[in-house]
Every structure is written in C-alpha cells, then in structure tokens.
C-alpha cells in the first residue's frame, strides 16, 4: 500500500484525538483521546519505519529499526503517564465527587 494511506489514516486518528481533547467535558474521555493521539503516532512511526527499511535495505540492513524502538518507548511513557494521570483523577474525584473538566475553571481569577 502507498505510504499516503497510512499518513491519512494516522492524521485522521490524530485529529479525532485533538478534537476530543478540546471538546469533551469528561476527564476520562479526554484522557482516552490523548491515548488515541499517541497511538496514531505509533501507527505512523511503524509505517515510516517499514518505508525507510524497504528503501534503504540494500545499503543498510538495519534501516528503520530505530522507529520500531521509538514505538516501545512511547508505549512505556504512555503507561507511566496513565498511572499518574489516573491517580490525579482519583484524587480529584475524592475531593469533588465529579470528573468534569469544568471544575478547572475555578482557578481563573
């Protein structure tokens, strides 16, 4: 398949994520949308990795592997971020009994 299909698919997913973050009011959903953004990036990285591998395999047999590695790093960091993020949401829920993002407006003076 041409690389353009992957780029369009990933960018679509990424934009869905961005729109979700900006419009949804439920913290968990916002959180899910951020995960969609990260996974769109993962998909695109793997596609690019394959593309560079096919193009350069004659001169460099390991071309493209660094992007595959990058994907694992993104997964690890996303997991770490989720653990901290969910802890923050639980802490907020204990104090306010709500997970609505609109609570964030209280800080504005």
């Amino acid at each position: 398949m041409p690389i353009n299909y992957y780029i369009i698919l990933s960018l679509t997913l990424f934009v869905i994520g961005i729109v979700g973050v900006l419009t949804r009011r439920n913290t968990i959903i916002v959180f899910m949308c951020i995960e969609i953004m990260l996974n769109a990036v993962n998909l695109l990285l793997v596609a690019f990795s394959k593309m560079h591998h096919i193009n350069q395999v004659a001169t460099n047999p390991t071309a493209g592997t660094e992007a595959q590695l990058f994907v694992f790093f993104i997964m690890v960091v996303a997991a770490a971020e989720v653990s901290v993020g969910l802890a923050i949401i639980v802490m907020l829920f204990r104090n306010t009994h709500s997970i609505d993002v609109n609570f964030l407006n209280r800080l504005k003076h």
Binding site: A67, M91, L92, T96, L107
Partner: protein
C-alpha cells in the same frame, strides 16, 4: 554522563531514605549533599574527568554548552534546597519522596540539555513532566492544588502528543532521529519537514509557556504549592529553553529563514501579553507567574537570533533568572499570604531581607550592575547581530520598562508603605544564603565572563 547516572541513583536513594530515616533534617541534609555531589561531578566532567564510560554517540552529546547548563541547573537546585527545603515539610507527609522526584527531574534536565537524538529529547521532556504533575498535586487535600495538577497534566500530555507527531513527520521525511544528520535542505524543503517543525515548535512553546500557548501557566503556577512553583518556574523552565534552542540550532538551523517570522511573532506576543497582564495582578505569586512568561519572551529572543551570542546569553539568562526567582520565592514562602499588602512595612521589620529582595527584583527588571541587565543585554545584542528584527528589539526594551512598574510595586510596598506586615522568623543561615545569592547576582552583573568562560575553556 556522571551527573545523569548519579542523579538517577540519588532518586532511588531518597526513596529508601523515606523508609529508613524518620528525622526530617537528616533527610534534608542527604538531599543537599546529593545535589552538591551532582554539581561536583559535573564540574569534574567539564574538566575532563568522566567516571562512567558509556557509549552515547548518536543519542547524547555532552558538549560544553550542555555541561555548563547542567552546572547552572544543579547550582540553582542546591541553592533552592538550602533556602526552601524546610518549607516542603508543610506540603505533606512524604518529605523524602519530594526530594526523590526532584532528583528524577534533574535526570530529565540532563537529558534535555544534552540530547542529540529526538528520542532522548522526548524521554527527557517526559521525565521532567511526570514528576512535576505529582509535585503540583502534592497538596492532596487542597482543591486548588488538585485542579492545577489535572490542568497541567492534560495540557502536558496533549502537547507531548503534538510533539510526537512532529517527531514522526520529521522522521518520515529524513529517515533519522539524529539531529546532527538530518541534513534538511535549504531549498525546496518538503511539506513533511515544515509540518513536523511547526508541530515541534508549538509543543516546545507549550512547555516554555510562550504566548498563544501560555494559558495554563498562571493557573498551574498559582495552584501548585509555592515551594514547588519556585522550582518549576526556574530550573525546569530554563531546561526546556535549552532543549528548545538545541533542537532548533542543530536540526533546523539550515532553514532558519522559514521559521524566524513565526518565532518573531510569538516572541512579540509573549513580551506584550506577559508584561501587560503582570501589571494587573494582586498577588505576588501570580505576578511572578506572569513575570516568568515575560522573561520567557526575552529568552525566546535567543532562539530567534540563533548565533553564538545567543548561546552565551541563554546560559547567563538562565542563571540570573533562576537565582533571582528562587530568592524571591524563598522570601515569599515565609510570608503568611501572597498579596502585595503583606509586604507593607517589610523593610522596617527585616531590613536585610528587604535589601536582598530589592537586588533580586532589580535583577529581574534588568537594572544595570545586576546579572539580569547583562542577560537582557546579551539577548538584545544577539538579536541585533542576526540583522532583521530591529522592531522586536525596540519592543523588548519598551516591555522591559513596563516590567519595572510591577517589580517596583513590591519595592514600594516594602519601603514606602506603612503596615505591621507579618512578623516572620528566619534563621541566620537563611539570611546568609540569601546574601550569597544576591552577591552572586551582582558579581555576575559585573564580570559575566566568570561564568561564560566555562563555555570555551
């Protein structure tokens, strides 16, 4: 490499300290000794003594610029620990863990300051951010702290997503993550490169709170426990700037003409909005948050100019800004509330503290004979050398004049207003440390080469 490994090890040591050591002063002293050790090994590495021979080619590059900035960051953290560590006790029960998180942040600072591969930049930014989310929300019973933490987390994760997309598009176009080998052509740059560069620019602008992306900063800085705001606004922010400059110097230096207009507009907006909004603040803490945005505007001038002077300037700026802000926050932490009124009559009660506070404020405002003046001077000089942006230099000078208004409001409250103020108790050691910091600012304001020579020799 020394400092990277030792800071990670000290993070773990501090977590165990929390289990085995119950006395808070002992915990504090271990942490202070740890940062002092970091500073020492980093200076040793600058003179060529490297304890850990690890092959990092293609991922990290420990050049003079990175090592010097690391020294500045460790020095600022050392001063921050000595001045403000006792105040961390008030935040919560997990005293040793706060130190552990700060050591992990320092680990990330080293990564960001010395990255060569975009993978390391991403990891460094995340290693800085994730502990900061926790520190921001560390006052668990306080709703404001919770909200600040959630807001910072959502904004941080969102901008990380954007940054990753930028890195990916760049990889698609160039086939490498190594900033030294991207070889972006000046003529006919591909659309993927331009899109990736803009996404990276916007996400880094989020991290340094440049203006269209600054809206989280005042709320987060205000809601965060004040001791941690002090660290966040100084060391972390200058580290993000060093990463920003390194990225654009190494990877996008060849297409400087394509992005400098965007950078100039963002710089101008940052200077305008940061300074003018700071004028209207009623709380000193919030005023300092906006002042951090306006100081970011000046640091962006260094990014815009992108020459040797701007590298010197960013080091000097990071030092001057960090030292002065840490000093002001240390004094602010001793006050009962954070309004301008609480400083009324402060000079009569604590003449020495008021005196050093004046030096810090003068340095932030950029009055000659302080380090802040020379830092601003280097930035303006770098911009003039790059040629195009005379209007921006004029705007920056006008905005520096505006900033004098809100910094001097605090001086006016301390010296010329009557008030009982709040009686605060400080130890002689605290006063001595503040005097040393103020002396550093003045010495650097007269002989900046004491610091900058380290970049070359």
């Amino acid at each position: 490499m020394n400092a990277l490994i030792i800071s990670a090890v000290f993070g773990v040591i501090m977590m165990f300290t929390g289990i085995f050591v119950k006395q808070k002063p002992v915990t504090r002293n271990i942490a202070i000794a740890g940062v002092a050790l970091l500073l020492l090994v980093n200076i040793l590495e600058m003179s060529g003594i490297d304890f850990f021979k690890v092959h990092t080619a293609g991922f990290m590059l420990f050049d003079r610029f990175a090592l010097l900035f690391n020294s500045v960051a460790f020095g600022s953290t050392l001063i921050y620990f000595i001045l403000s560590a006792p105040d961390m006790e008030k935040v919560g029960h997990y005293y040793a863990d706060y130190f552990a998180l700060i050591f992990f942040i320092l680990c990330g600072v080293v990564l960001v300051a010395s990255f060569q591969s975009l993978l390391i930049l991403f990891l460094g930014i995340e290693i800085i951010s994730i502990p900061l989310y926790i520190l921001t929300g560390s006052n668990k019973r306080n709703l404001i702290s919770n909200e600040a933490s959630l807001k910072y987390f959502l904004m941080g994760a969102f901008s990380t997503g954007i940054m990753l997309m930028g890195i990916t598009l760049l990889y698609g176009a160039t086939g490498t993550f190594d900033t030294q080998f991207m070889n972006i052509e000046t003529e006919g740059t591909s659309a993927l490169v331009i899109a990736g560069m803009l996404l990276l620019f916007f996400s880094m602008a989020f991290k340094v709170s440049a203006v269209p992306f600054h809206f989280w900063t005042p709320d987060v800085y205000d809601g965060c426990p004040t001791v941690f705001t002090s660290f966040m606004a100084t060391v972390v922010k200058s580290a993000a700037f060093v990463g920003f400059i390194r990225l654009f110097y190494d990877a996008f230096g060849s297409i400087h003409d394509d992005w400098k207009l965007v950078a100039a507009i963002i710089t101008a907006l940052t200077l305008l909005v940061g300074n003018i909004t700071a004028v209207f603040q009623q709380s000193v803490k919030r005023m300092l948050a906006y002042s951090s945005i306006s100081q970011a505007g000046f640091m962006l001038l260094g990014l815009l100019a992108l020459n040797a002077t701007s590298k010197e300037g960013i080091i000097l700026y990071a030092t001057a800004y960090s030292l002065a802000t840490i000093g002001i926050f240390a004094i602010l932490l001793k006050m009962n509330d954070h309004s301008f009124e609480s400083f009324n009559g402060f000079a009569r009660q604590q003449p020495l503290l008021a005196g050093v506070n004046v030096i810090f404020l003068l340095s932030l405002a950029g009055i000659p004979l302080t380090a802040g003046f020379l830092a601003k001077f280097y930035m303006l000089k770098a911009t003039l050398e790059s040629g195009d942006f005379l209007w921006l230099v004029i705007l920056a000078v006008i905005m520096a004049a505006v900033s004098v208004y809100y910094y001097f409001r605090l001086i006016q409250a301390m010296y010329f207003k009557e008030g009982d103020g709040n009686a605060i108790e400080v130890s002689p050691g605290f006063k001595l440390m503040l005097v040393i910091v103020a002396a550093c600012l003045i010495v650097l304001g007269v002989f900046p080469n004491l610091l900058l020579n380290w970049l070359y020799f």
